[in-house]
Amino acid sequence: MSEQQGGAPLLEIADLVKTYRLPRERLFGPRPQLRAVDGVSFRVTAGRSFGIVGESGSGKSTLARAAIALEWPTSGQARLMGSAMNLAPRAALRKMRAHMQMIFQDPYGSLDPRQTVARIVGEPLACLDGISRADGAARIAEALQAVGLSATDARKYPHEFSGGQRQRVAIARALITRPRLVVADEPVSALDVSIQAQVLNLMTDLQQQFGITYLLISHDLAVVEHICDEIAVMYRGRFVETGPSEILLASPAHPYTRALIDAAPKLQTARRRAPAPASDSPGPKTGCAYASRCAFAQSKCREEAPALRPLVDGRHVACHFPL
């Protein structure tokens, strides 16, 4: 399926921090900072797709953009196949981009309405040197066919397609450089259920066909599990639990993972009540960020932040009292 890269993982994120400066709150006060990603490390090895789950504002999209060098980390590194992207010269980074592509959430916003499908799909190719016009056209046709569109669609404009077809175009664009890593940020959450299935099927087909490894960002556990071998659960800028999909979802160790699984609506009439009482207030400055929402929180949780530590079954969890 996929060629093995000796030693170095496909993608390695090392202690990545990304902060944003917020508006001043007091006249002469310092500008407060938001730590969107707060010291996250993980590796994606070729052939094992990695999923990140979390609620809005957890920092998962920032992390995804940092992973593909669309954001510069405040500290830490993102390494693709061993080379740090934030340290690479501009030209080198451009070459590296051929190995990684991205699929976006909104199929309406991710395609330039004033460009033909050929230009859209061919854009990553145009950024590479040494590809002839004829070659390019052939590659575009190939990519379109791979996602179930016809080569003649290349002349059309995005508005001539339905939402599902647009997402296919977006996927074709991501495929055209034959990347090894595709970062997909909520690729199906804007689609209707009936279309979601088409796109998910396409993504799994391509995974098998081209040996693509996904870094998938989603709030939907089922979607992540469908695609990914490994899952990380993110909360307030940090990973609270990581591990192989089956194990993690079957027996979550972190109370937050548990809450996520329980809260996801299921196709059955009887339903478990929502777990912890609601609290949207920000976590305490010290201790576990989830402590204020956690049903199992103890005094230690409010005093000391738990580190991500390994469990026996290959999982890691950041909890003093794992379930």
């Binding site: 609620e55 809005s56 339905s162 939402g163 599902g164 077809q165 209707d192 259920v193 009936s194 279309i195 979601q196 299935a197 088409q198 998910l200 099927n201 799994t204 995974q207 098998q208 709030h219 939907d220 556990l221 089922a222 979607v223 599990e225 469908h226 695609i227 990914c228 071998d229 999909s245 089956e246 979802l249 079957a250 809450a259 996520l260 699984i261 329980d262 809260a263 996801a264 609506p265 299921k266 196709l267 059955q268 009439t269 009887a270 339903r271 009540r273 929502a274 777990p275 912890a276 009482p277 609601a278 609290s279 949207d280 207030s281």
Partner: protein
């Protein structure tokens, strides 16, 4: 019956001509009951909800009947509808950020229907607003009442919307995708809250959602809409257990499920939903449906009763059962 909708159709003028957005929808609901309306975008579910409130866009025309507490809402004039809205029928909208007036404090917005329908004084209405905020589980309600919408989180805003809807103790609450904009954990809490409050005061609830699972877990009865048409309806248990309509079936199978084998192919529905401008004469699902025959495209399928009040509009139910 609290509410009986019979053969409701809604026509909307667009730049491309008049479009039928809702086609002959019928359903009923009694005090304290919960009904889920599920459908994809463009299925007409939101327009059905707005028709009940009498808040369809300008120029929309309706036919059929909406009997609420014995009166046909479609025959009421604007003033009479106004008296009902916010008092007997209340609505919760999808996006609490935009559904709240950004310039008014939360308390003022919650107090508004109380002043309007209950004739409370400003002070009394504000006090009641604080009580309502407490009831929907917002901590520190006094300060929350003074806050502006942008100072609250999404979940808190939706709680405020619920407090607003509850104010006059309506008989019917229509919630249009109340949790779509929220995180899963918050979504569960909000749905619980709506369910609890409805049960406490014997309010009927219509929950509109694109997510069949949300409906399944919260509503006794379900109405599946597609292309403006009610494809299938009945008790949720019945519909989930024995989906009769090919569309309902496809919908149930298309979703990835937690715990399913990875990479397993999903039962995708081919093609895309028809646009309102290109709606076929017959069944809107014709063409995408694997069981399509020529007759499907010719006339609107009649409702078929399947025992109890389980109904499906399909001329190929037999074939569908065989296929399943």
């Amino acid at each position: 019956m609290l509410l009986e909708v019979a053969e409701l159709s809604v026509d909307l003028p667009t730049s491309g001509g008049v479009r039928r957005i809702v086609r002959s929808a019928s359903f009923a609901l009694d005090h304290g009951q919960t009904l889920g309306i599920v459908g994809e975008s463009g299925s007409g579910k939101t327009m059905t909800a707005l028709a009940l409130m009498g808040l369809l866009p300008d120029g929309a025309t309706t036919s059929g009947a909406i009997l609420f507490e014995g009166r046909d809402l479609l025959k009421l004039n604007e003033a009479q509808m106004r008296d009902l809205r916010g008092d007997r029928v209340a609505m919760i909208f999808q996006e609490p950020m935009t559904a709240l007036n950004p310039l008014h404090s939360i308390g003022r917005q919650i107090a508004e229907p109380l002043i309007l329908h209950r004739g409370l004084s400003n002070a009394a209405a504000h006090a009641e607003a604080v009580r309502l905020l407490e009831r929907v589980g917002l901590p520190d309600p006094v300060r929350r009442a003074r806050a502006y919408p942008h100072q609250l989180s999404g979940g808190q805003r939706q709680r405020a919307m619920i407090a607003m809807a509850l104010g006059c103790a309506p008989r019917l609450i229509i919630a249009d995708e109340p949790t779509t904009a929220l995180d899963v954990t918050v979504q569960a809490q909000i749905l619980d809250l709506i369910a609890d409050l409805g049960a406490q005061s014997d309010m009927a609830l219509i929950l509109v959602s694109h997510d069949l699972a949300v409906i399944a877990q919260n509503c006794e009865r379900v109405l599946v809409m597609y292309g403006g048409m009610a494809m299938e309806s009945g008790r949720t248990d019945d519909v989930l257990a024995r989906p009769a309509h090919p569309y309902t079936k496809a919908l149930l199978q298309a979703r990835p499920r937690v715990g399913a084998r990875r990479g397993e192919r999903l039962q995708a529905i081919a093609g895309a939903a028809p646009s309102a401008g290109a709606m076929p004469k017959g069944c809107p699902f014709a063409g995408r449906c694997p069981l399509t025959i020529a007759a499907c495209g010719e006339a609107l399928p009649a409702p078929v009763m399947l025992g109890g009040d389980h109904m499906a509009r399909c001329i190929r139910i037999d074939a569908a059962e065989r296929a399943a």
